[in-house]
């Protein structure tokens, strides 16, 4: 409503227009002001940038000029050669002055190429300001106190830091080195090096440089005044390092990009050579290049001003303008609106009145207006209202049917009035006419008033259509009735002839035709007469037409109704009882169904056929065709149905037959199924039973195993205990038995003998002859000797079995001496030998030891001495030992006492000195006969001495006498257990000749090649030994011995070569050193044993360390420990001989009996097995009784040895018969080893016999046969053997089998 007001409509556009204009004005002024501002600021800043870059440039230029000047003047050195007065000293002075006069310089230096300055570098070596080659490189610097000191240039060889030297050398141009931070006196100073090359004659001789502190740059930019506080002022070096930052000196030295990451792109755009200004990222950024010298890449001065601060003033003015213009606009709009509203008031009232009139209220309100356009509108409106009122009243009269009231015409032009009048007249006429029609006067014509008289025209058309409709209704009525009747007629199932008769009869009647025929198209395409009306079978008339034949045929082709008029008289005749006549008109109507002619109707009539009839025919012909078609189909269906029924009957019978056979099949299938399922069930049951049985068996087995395991554990524990006991028993058995026997069984009768012989010798009764007494004396003497012997043997056995008990006590040496004196005084007198006892002064009064044993030894010595000395003297001396070499390590001269007995007797030959200490041995086999004695004394003495912690030494010379010395410790620390050492080891034997001396000499492995081995002259059948040894001397000894024993030798000085030789030459034996270069002996051994080709070769291990047991476990055949004695080597060679000879002539048993397992030559497999046996006790075999039936006694002997070693009892039968006898005789034989080839009764027969006996049904029998006999095995098993072993057999295999069968 508000927006429909003209006032508003006018005001809004005006308002918009004003606002538009304001906006444009404000924008323009603001932009122009900002542009002006920016351009003035730009100019200002660019000018500042230029000024300051110039200042920096000038400063650098100044410094660079100094370096250039210095370089030029130094170049003069080259120009004038040595003629110039410029020497190294003066250059130093110049540099010093330069530094002094420029406080901003940190250092001034020059750096010359080697020998470039005056070719005298050699002379300046090591002098200050020179490097070690004398190269001239002085450098003046300021130290932390500001003092100027002379140094030499540094880092010029350093790739990273030496740019100040390398760059100018390469470019031959002055160079500004990138600023870097330098710490001086704890303060970080950013500095830059400016360097000029010293060039003369285009050759580079060195550089002159200045290190310039950049503090002054900071000063320059800190003093810049730009009115914007936020402005940043930066000096950037050519590679982007900040040399100075306004207000923030701490940022100097950092990279530009790291401080201003947002300006990275701006900076790195590679055009720093020009001055640039631009807005980036809200900043006004200016870059101004600073050229220093003729360096390629300039430094930059950079100013960054946030653009906000520049444009702020321009935008503040804009806002004021906008506010003022809005206020003005509002005032003017209010004024305009008020004025328009005032002027529009009367017009609004007229509009309200006109609205009333328009709505039909013909009222005029008095409206006061001025005399203007609005006033004129008002007057016209008034007139119009009154005129309308008048016409309205006329029309009101007309509406109520009162045609009498004409309208008063207001003027000639009053068309409305005239028209109303004319209309009244016309309506009067129409009323009259309509009254006429209502009375049924269709025929009377009604004329419209004019061409436009719609009402008139409509009435006229109404009349004519009413007439037509009446006629048409009648016609349709006739057709519909006919159609209905015909349809009724055709309804139901009818034969074609009936149907066609009915139809043609009806049609003729209906059409009032006297004659008619009905043709139907048969299957062959002929039209057959099937029905007729008053149509007799006349001559020359056909009842069958082909298509196209006659009119009837033609109608069927054309598929259209054919009407023939004026038919000739003789065409056809209509007959009746009263006469006949020819029809004048013939009609042929084809009956078409789905575009196929089903038949044709022919009708003849006297009069012409009316349209009604024709249209009736054309309407019903389709229905008739359908009826005929239906009848025909019905006919055909009937026939087909007949056929189908026949077929169905046939099918039914066939089906029956099939069903029957199907039933039979089903029955058969059922039977099959049943039997299959029965089979399956049975199978399943069997399987289950089987599984359960198996499972139960397993369970039983498990239980049995459990019990067995427990049993075994018990047994094992028992056995273990038993073994321990056995061990103990065994060790003590012999000794104790022996001792008991000795002491009791021997001494008891001996006592009687001694006593009685003594008694007899005494001859108290005096009835004996002198000779008899002599005999008795002899018996007594012999008996005493025997007793002594027994006692000594007893002692010896006690000592050897460790059963000797010691009773150490404090003994005064003088007591010993007196005892000895007492005991032997008598004897010396008797033998007329001087007996001297000497005791040294420097001895302690007493010693702590076993008195009895000590005295026993000494007495033994003395009795020997007296025994073997016939004249001269015997000395017993007690003193400190005279020699300082002891076999007992803890003896020394100061802590031991020597008891020595020296005689002047027969002496002992050198080669017999060792044997006198052995039991039952004397120096001369004949000695005993001459001197008597058991020969046990010294053996016992030796053992006793060891027991007492001491030793016995012997010095002797044949014919001159001997000295036996007993050396005992002053204090017996503890009972010494006799060590099982070789007897001679306790003897000090100077002639103990061993090869160990040789092994001590310096090794020279390189010479091993020099030793010739036999690899070039090996023949088939040679016995070859491979010696792997890197010590040439030892290798030489081994080669010599080998050759002396008729071996060919191969030498290898390292493991690798050794392996190679072993593989290639297949030696008969290998002697392998442990300490080998590259690969140690054990590794070589492992490799040898792993290799199938070399695994069988016996390896003898020589090692400095005692690694023997390890080596044996790995399969070594034997070992010797360095230093190796000749004896050891002899033993090794004996062993090698034995092994080789064994392999040459095989015995059925490959094992030679009685050998210690671990020292056997072994294959790797065997080595492992041996290993296993060592680890686990062979409980299975222990105490089992085996019957060995074999006639080969060597085999019997060997096998028995093996088995007995395992704790088995072996019973031997020499043939089958004997075997069976043994089996019957011996109880509880666990297993039989049965040889096959035997005399008297062979193995097969024997086994068969054994199996016949029920007691032996389960006795394990292992048959032994020669390997060559292949069929034997089957025969053996057949004969009753449980297992079978071919000879010669491997020991381990035999044991393996025995374990299985004895388990």
């Amino acid at each position: 409503m508000l927006f429909n007001s003209i006032a508003i409509k006018l005001t809004i556009p005006i308002l918009l227009l004003i606002l538009c204009i304001d906006g444009i004005l404000i924008t323009y002024t603001t932009i122009s002001r900002r542009d002006h501002l920016i351009s003035s600021v730009n100019d200002h800043i660019l000018a500042i940038a230029r000024d300051h870059s110039g200042a920096v440039e000038a400063e650098f230029e100044k410094t660079l000029n100094i370096t250039k000047t210095l370089a030029d003047s130094f170049a003069a050195v080259k120009e004038l050669e040595s003629a110039s007065g410029l020497g190294r000293e003066s250059v130093k002075v110049i540099l010093n002055k330069t530094l002094q006069s420029n406080p901003s310089f940190l250092a001034v230096y020059t750096l010359w190429e080697p020998d470039a300055f005056d070719s005298m570098d050699e002379a300046f070596r090591g002098i200050a300001a020179h490097d070690e080659t004398g190269r001239f490189i002085p450098c003046w610097t300021r130290d932390s106190q500001g003092n100027i000191v002379l140094e030499h240039a540094r880092d010029y060889k350093n790739e990273a830091k030496g740019g100040y030297y390398t760059i100018p050398r390469n470019t031959k141009k002055e160079t500004v080195i990138d600023p870097y931070l330098y710490t001086l006196g704890g303060k970080q100073i950013l500095m830059v090096s400016l360097v000029s090359p010293v060039i003369f004659d285009n050759s580079f001789y060195g550089v002159v440089g200045v290190d310039l502190s950049l503090d002054w740059i900071q000063n320059i930019i800190d003093n810049v005044f730009i009115h914007e506080k936020n402005a940043k002022f930066n000096i950037i070096s050519n590679n982007g390092i900040l040399a100075a930052v306004s207000g923030e000196p701490s940022l100097a030295g950092k990279r530009f990009e790291s401080v201003y990451p947002h300006l990275k792109d701006e900076f790195s755009s590679n055009n720093n050579s020009k001055q640039r200004i631009g807005f980036t990222d809200g900043n006004l950024v200016v870059f101004t290049p600073i050229y220093i010298g003729n360096t390629q890449t300039p430094w930059s001065l950079n100013i960054i001003i946030p653009s906000d601060s520049i444009t702020a003033t321009a935008f503040s003015g804009m806002w004021t303008e906008i506010v003022i213009s809005i206020i003005l606009t509002l005032i003017s709009v209010v004024f305009i609106a008020f004025f328009i509203n005032l002027k529009m008031k009367p017009l609004r009232r007229i509009a309200e009145s006109a609205e009333k009139v328009a709505s039909g209220r013909l009222v005029y309100d008095a409206i006061v207006t001025e005399d203007d356009e609005i006033g004129k509108v008002n007057a016209s409106f008034k007139n119009m209202v009154f005129s309308l009122k008048e016409i309205t009243s006329a029309c009101q009269a007309l509406a109520v049917g009162d045609f009498s009231q004409p309208v008063q015409l207001r003027s000639k032009d009053d068309i409305l009035g005239q028209t109303v009048n004319f209309m009244v007249e016309n309506i009067k006429k129409i009323v009259k006419q309509l009254n006429n029609i209502a009375k049924g006067g269709f025929s009377s014509k009604f004329r419209p008033f004019s061409e436009k008289d719609q009402l008139g025209t409509a009435i006229a058309e109404l009349i004519s259509s009413l007439r037509k409709m009446t006629e048409e209704n009648e016609r349709q009525n006739i057709i519909k009735t006919g159609t209905m009747e015909l349809h009724t007629l055709m309804r139901g199932e009818k034969e074609i002839s009936t149907l066609s008769d009915n139809i043609i009869t009806f049609l003729c009647r209906y059409m009032n035709a006297p004659i008619g025929a009905f043709y139907v198209m048969d299957e062959e395409g002929f039209l057959i007469l099937t029905g007729s009306f008053a149509y007799g079978q006349q001559t020359n008339h056909s009842s069958r037409f082909a298509p196209g034949e006659g009119l009837t045929g033609q109608a069927s082709i054309e598929k259209q109704i054919i009407v023939v008029t004026d038919v000739p008289e003789d065409y056809v005749r209509i007959q009746s009882g009263v006469g006949n006549a020819a029809p004048r008109n013939i009609l042929l109507c084809p009956l078409v169904f789905e575009n196929a002619v089903k038949g044709v109707i022919e009708i003849g009539a006297f009069q012409e056929f009316s349209d009604v009839h024709l249209s009736f025919l054309s309407q019903i012909s389709d229905s008739i065709a359908i009826a005929i078609n239906s009848a025909q189909i019905r006919n055909r269906m009937k026939t087909l149905l007949g056929h189908t029924q026949e077929q169905a009957d046939m099918l039914k019978s066939q089906q029956e037959a099939l069903r029957q056979s199907n039933l039979d099949l089903e029955k058969q299938a059922d039977a099959l199924k049943q039997s299959e399922s029965m089979l399956k069930e049975q199978q399943e049951e069997l399987r289950h039973t089987n599984e359960e049985l198996q499972e139960q068996a397993q369970l039983l087995e498990e239980q049995k195993e459990d019990i067995q395991k427990k049993h075994l554990e018990l047994e094992m524990a028992g056995k273990l205990i038993k073994e321990k006991v056995d061990d103990l028993e065994r060790t003590s058995k012999y000794k104790s038995e022996f001792l008991a026997n000795m002491s009791h069984e021997l001494r008891t009768p001996l006592n009687s003998i001694l006593l009685l012989s003594r008694l007899i010798a005494d001859n108290k009764d005096g009835n004996l002859t002198k000779k008899q007494v002599e005999f008795a004396d002899t018996i007594h003497a012999s008996g005493s000797d025997l007793l002594n012997l027994i006692n000594e043997v007893l002692d010896l056995s006690k000592v050897e079995s460790g059963k000797m008990e010691l009773n150490p006590e404090e003994i005064h040496l003088k007591d010993i001496a007196s005892t000895i004196k007492r005991d032997f005084q008598h004897l010396s007198q008797k033998k007329e030998i001087d007996f001297v006892i000497e005791i040294s002064e420097d001895l302690p009064v007493s010693i702590f030891t076993d008195r009895q044993r000590t005295e026993q030894i000494i007495k033994n010595f003395l009795s020997n001495a007296f025994k073997f000395t016939s004249c001269g003297k015997i000395t017993f001396n007690v003193s400190r030992p005279s020699v300082n070499s002891f076999s007992q390590t803890d003896l020394s001269r100061s802590n031991s006492i020597a008891f020595s007995v020296t005689d002047t007797g027969i002496g002992i030959p050198r080669d017999k000195q060792q044997t006198v200490f052995e039991a039952f041995k004397q120096a001369d086999g004949t000695t005993s006969r001459k001197y008597g004695g058991t020969g046990l004394g010294l053996s016992i003495s030796v053992e006793l001495a060891k027991y007492l912690g001491g030793e016995i030494q012997l010095e002797s010379e044949e014919g001159k006498g001997s000295t036996f010395t007993l050396i005992l410790p002053e204090k017996l620390e503890q009972p010494f257990m006799a060590e099982k050492k070789k007897r001679q080891s306790s003897l000090k034997n100077n002639e103990d000749d061993t090869v160990n001396n040789l092994t001590e000499t310096e090794k020279s492995p390189a010479c091993i090649e020099a030793l010739k081995d036999d690899r070039r002259n090996l023949n088939h059948g040679d016995r070859v030994i491979l010696i792997v040894e890197d010590d040439i001397h030892f290798a030489k000894i081994l080669s010599n011995i080998s050759r002396s024993r008729e071996f060919k030798i191969l030498l290898a000085d390292n493991g690798q070569t050794g392996l190679h030789f072993a593989d290639y030459y297949k030696p008969d034996a290998i002697i392998l050193d442990f300490d080998l270069p590259q690969m140690d002996g054990l590794s070589v051994l492992a490799r040898l044993k792993d290799n199938k080709k070399t695994g069988h070769i016996p390896v003898f291990f020589v090692s400095a360390l005692d690694r023997a047991s390890h080596a044996l476990q790995m399969g070594a055949a034997g070992y010797a420990v360095k230093p190796v004695s000749l004896d050891d080597l002899e033993k090794i060679y004996d062993k090698i001989n034995l092994i080789i000879s064994e392999s040459v002539k095989p015995i059925p048993v490959s094992e030679s009996p009685g050998e210690v397992m671990t020292e056997d030559h072994s294959s790797p497999d065997r080595a492992k097995n041996t290993d296993m046996m060592i680890l686990g006790k062979d409980d299975v075999l222990n105490n089992k009784k085996v019957l060995l039936v074999d006639d080969d006694m060597r085999n019997v002997y060997a096998t028995t040895n093996i088995l007995e070693e395992k704790g088995m009892k072996v019973i031997v039968g020499k043939n089958g018969k004997e075997g069976i006898e043994r089996l019957n005789k011996e109880k509880a034989i666990d297993l039989v080893l049965m040889d096959i080839m035997m005399p008297i009764m062979d193995g097969y027969e024997a086994m068969k016999e054994i199996r016949k006996d029920n007691r032996f049904a389960k006795l394990p029998i292992i048959a032994l046969t020669a390997k060559a006999m292949k069929g034997d095995r089957a025969l053996c098993i057949e004969a009753g053997a449980d297992d079978y072993l071919a000879k010669p057999f491997d020991t381990e295999k035999l044991l393996s089998m025995l374990r299985v069968w004895l388990y």
Binding site: E691, E695, K1177, R1273
Partner: protein, 275 residues
Amino acid sequence: MENQNNEIKLLIEAIYLKYGIDFRGYSEASITRRILKNLAFSGMKSISELRSRIVRDKASFEQLLLDLSINVTEMFRDPLFYKAVRETVVPCLRKKSFIKIWHAGCASGEEVYSLAILFHEEGLDNRTRVYATDFNEKILTAAKNGIYSLEKMKTYTMNYYKAGGKSSFGDYYTSRSNDATISQFLKKNILFTRHNLASDRSFGEMDLILCRNVMIYFNRDLQDSVFQLFKESLSEGCFLCLGAKESLRYSTCSDDFEDVVPKEKIYRKKITGCL
């Protein structure tokens, strides 16, 4: 009682779904006994607890499997079978330059070693590779070790001679106090590896497949699929050997094989290609 039966059925179903091993054809009484035995040892309270455990914990399942499977086997089991192999199969395989044998379901390995001994004695061991497989890792380790109790060795020895052993059985083991170890040289051509017949596929064309007394644990569908697997894994004209109580006859593959020694269940894959 009925609850227990249902629980056991659920357990067996769970094993089948999770591991594809089918115990559904087992006799109820025996499987119940075994499961209860396992339950007693594992310390679990109910079969349902056992079920949830074995589905999540493979080790528990393997233990149960050991309890459930009847690993009754021996060296030269059914000696006449080995004799038949020696007499009929070996002469055919002798012509091949390399012989690949798959022993499916080798259990603790006794029969694998039997086969190895046979091929050793026939001089074929250097061109023979035996793949011995089982789905049970534990038993496979035992098979690799090849250590058998001395008690059993007696039976094995007798079997060996019955199977026509050509040498001494003692050649093939080394005994210790309680057990005997199969000789190392027999193991060199045998590859023991895990393979589950129910889920894993073929791993190469074989010349001889042995799968003895394994099928009896499988139902018909699984049997068919395993036979199919064997068919795929065999070269034409090569051999498949089953256990004495097993047969190919009713399987879907029966037409692809022909009998060689029907009594010992030795079959041969028919040759279809043109020669």
